[in-house]
């Protein structure tokens, strides 16, 4: 292969193009598809902008109004005298997340065995448990909170129930995945020594799945603390209740202080949870960057 660049003729290039069409760019059909996808996206975007009136003068008016009557009114934050009250509500938020997560974990634990293919022989029961869990997870915390506030009244109990319901679904899924991934050999070992059903679970299954379950539970607790900060906006207790109250009463400076408190608490819980998981389980690498972006 001692051909120099100058020796290559148009004929050579044409021959090469004939042999390897893919090396000279995507085929026409593929390019057309790409252009259609981009064109369709753009067209739909313009239609939406038009439909929701984001191209009109009214929108610009709203933007300037947002600057003048909302952002400008938020600073400087005020209401420092109420900080003890805010902190108490923040404590209530964290407590709601804690109890809701715990309750969900307790309810989910037995069901997660039913939902695992390697623990439940009956496929219909296993399948039904899985789909039931999916259904609980399908609704957002706020939707459950809205319903429970109507059923049990204003206050943290509705928030705890909302978190517990969603978490039951999430934990059945996460726990049963952990159970399905366990190593069969440890159970066989217990069986070969004459262990009964309880022995198999206690010495064969739990030592393998418990660290994973603990890690998942801690991670969801962190996630739920973030969710719990807003449940109060529909009346389910915690700091969100005060935030919604201040915003609706147009007390924007106090609302700003609460928002700052919420952000600081979220950071603190993030670091605490990361630290705890590293200490207890040492699996900080399991956390994917995608998780960090899932906020509420």
């Amino acid at each position: 292969m001692s051909a120099r660049l100058a020796d290559i003729t148009e004929v050579d290039i044409a021959a090469e193009r004939e042999r390897n069409p893919g090396a000279f760019g995507a085929p026409l059909r593929q390019r057309l598809n790409a252009w259609m996808a981009w064109g369709g996206t753009t067209a739909l975007t313009i239609y939406c902008l038009y439909r929701f009136g984001l191209l009109s003068g009214n929108f610009l008016h709203g933007v300037s109004k947002f600057g003048e009557t909302v952002v400008a009114q938020m600073f400087p934050p005020a209401g420092y005298g109420d900080i003890p009250l805010f902190l108490k509500a923040m404590g209530e938020t964290v407590a709601m997340a804690f109890l809701g997560t715990l309750l969900g974990a307790f309810v989910a634990f037995p069901f997660s065995f039913l939902a695992s293919k390697n623990m439940t022989r009956s496929r219909p029961i296993q399948f039904a448990t899985r789909r039931g869990a999916d259904l609980l997870r399908a609704f957002d915390y706020l939707i459950w909170a809205l319903i429970f506030v109507r059923a049990v009244g204003l206050g943290p109990l509705a928030g705890i129930m909302a978190i517990a319901i969603v978490e039951t679904g999430t934990f059945i899924k996460l726990y049963s995945e952990a159970i399905e991934n366990l190593d069969r050999k440890q159970i066989d070992g217990v069986t070969s020594l004459g262990g009964n059903w309880l022995h198999k679970i206690w010495f064969g299954v739990l030592p393998q799945v418990l660290p994973m379950m603990l890690s998942n539970t801690l991670y969801m607790f962190e996630h739920n603390t973030r969710s719990a900060t807003i449940l109060g906006i529909v009346g389910a207790g915690g700091i969100g209740f005060l935030l919604g109250d201040r915003l609706r009463a147009y007390e924007l400076r106090e609302a700003c202080l609460i928002i700052i408190l919420v952000v600081l608490t979220v950071y603190a819980i993030d670091y605490l949870s990361k630290f705890l998981r590293e200490q207890l389980i040492g699996d900080h690498k399991r956390r994917e960057p995608i998780d960090d972006a899932v906020q509420i």
Binding site: G62, K88, L99, L157, I233, I259, P289
Partner: protein
């Protein structure tokens, strides 16, 4: 590790080895028990603190369960097989209005995803350590993204409702703000992980800056961008169904009204629409995401 060391130091005396092993094993057990007791105590203290703070009352919870189940059971009105069409039609009496709201919800989620991705994607170039021009710009970009995504979207919705009034615009802006924060952060991480060799290759072949970005950077990052964006649409559809609770438009507003008015059957009908929509969107998004990830593996 420690045990094998002990075995070596104990030499060839088997009794000594066993005794030392037993001693060390007892030590490990003791240490583990101390940790377990400590962890248990902290846990119980947290539990008590939480119960006291929320004034948790188990009886109230148990009393609430039948009320909640009653609420849930009232959502499904009696539907008989022989008059299925008529009963179903009565249940979905507001279908025209609800499906209009649903369309608005989906378009809100779509527009917010597009706008948030464009803005967040632009900021991500300043928030990537390898691409930012100077540290101040990098720091500011990172903080902007952080604030945008740490403040919950429903709080943004409350703020935007104050300025733009009740309606879809507030919801779009709220979800856009949250999206730009999340996308900006993820995209910045993608930008930081690009392989510089393709850029070098294009430069050595005489390409200019535009060629470098178009043929060196974009093919590497676009599949990841697309994958994150499909995934974000999924999340934003969920968000768009709930921002209506504070007046920011979409089907959440219908749901909120129905719950407040205790129109149980309407609540059930709307919840069914929401669940079906979320599941279909999840399925579609997963399909598209896998095709995008498939392209990602070709790009490397």
């Amino acid at each position: 590790m420690a045990i094998s060391k002990t075995l070596n130091s104990a030499g060839t005396n088997p009794r000594g080895v066993v005794a030392q092993f037993e001693q060390q094993y007892a030590g490990y057990r003791r240490q583990k028990r101390v940790y377990a007791a400590l962890f248990g105590t902290v846990f119980v203290l947290c539990l008590i603190a939480a119960l006291v703070t929320t004034q948790f009352n188990l009886w109230k919870l148990i009393a609430g369960i039948p009320r909640a189940t009653e609420f849930l059971s009232k959502m499904l009105p009696p539907i008989h097989l022989d008059s299925f069409a008529k009963d179903f039609g009565e249940w979905y009496w507001g279908a025209a209005e609800w499906f209009d709201s649903l369309l608005n919800t989906l378009l809100m989620a779509y527009l917010a995803t597009v706008l948030g991705t464009i803005i967040g994607g632009t900021i991500s170039f300043f928030a990537a350590r390898n691409l930012a021009q100077n540290y101040l710009v990098y720091w500011v970009a990172r903080r902007v993204l952080e604030i945008a995504r740490t403040v919950p979207d429903i709080v943004w919705a409350l703020l935007f409702v104050l300025a733009f009034g009740i309606g879809e615009v507030a919801g779009i802006l709220a979800i856009t703000t949250h999206t730009l924060g999340a996308q900006g952060k993820l995209f910045a991480e993608v930008n930081e992980n690009i392989n510089p060799l393709p850029i070098d290759g294009i430069r050595s072949a005489g390409g200019n800056w535009f060629h470098e970005m178009r043929f060196g950077v974009l093919p590497q990052v676009l599949p990841n961008y697309l994958s994150y964006t499909f995934w974000r649409i999924e999340l934003n559809v969920r968000s768009a169904t709930i921002v209506g609770f504070v007046g920011a438009g979409g089907i959440g507003l219908d749901l909120f009204t129905a719950v407040q008015m205790l129109y149980f059957a309407d609540v059930g009908a709307i919840l069914l629409i929401i669940v079906a929509t979320v599941m279909v969107i999840d399925m579609l998004s997963e399909k598209f995401r896998h095709s995008a990830i498939g392209k990602a593996s070709f790009a490397h």
